[in-house]
Point group: C2
Chain length 84, copies 2
Amino acid sequence: MDTITLIGYFAGTLTTISFLPQVIRSWKTKSTHDISFAMLALFGLGMLLWATYGFWLNSPPIILANVITFALILVLLAMKIRYK
Amino acid sequence: MDTITLIGYFAGTLTTISFLPQVIRSWKTKSTHDISFAMLALFGLGMLLWATYGFWLNSPPIILANVITFALILVLLAMKIRYK
């Protein structure tokens, strides 16, 4: 695999896992007051559309990355609604 | 432009602008306690790598989307440090 493809995979892994520490923090503190609902909603919708894009192009890495991130955003949205 | 390319552009626009309402909310409330520093750091590093990927492939849409998002993440990181 060439360097730039590796950089692309590394970038995708980072942006996908980045929401995990946010989920853990919100779960621990039970507080999501400072997180913007609009940010989560827009980002989640964007993830759904990226996943659609990935399905259409039959690209497993695009599908996988966006489905995982979408799931994390859904958890954050649920906590945002639950914890206020 | 075909439908799937339009979906891709729309997805990219959504994920890029999604951090704008977060910046506005944090600016207004002067509070970033519930936002995970690790999330911002990992996501910001991911954006830098995606921008590198875009420069390497000479892809203006990838560069533009990731540079704008990186700038918004930098603002959030600064507010996270400033407001605690």
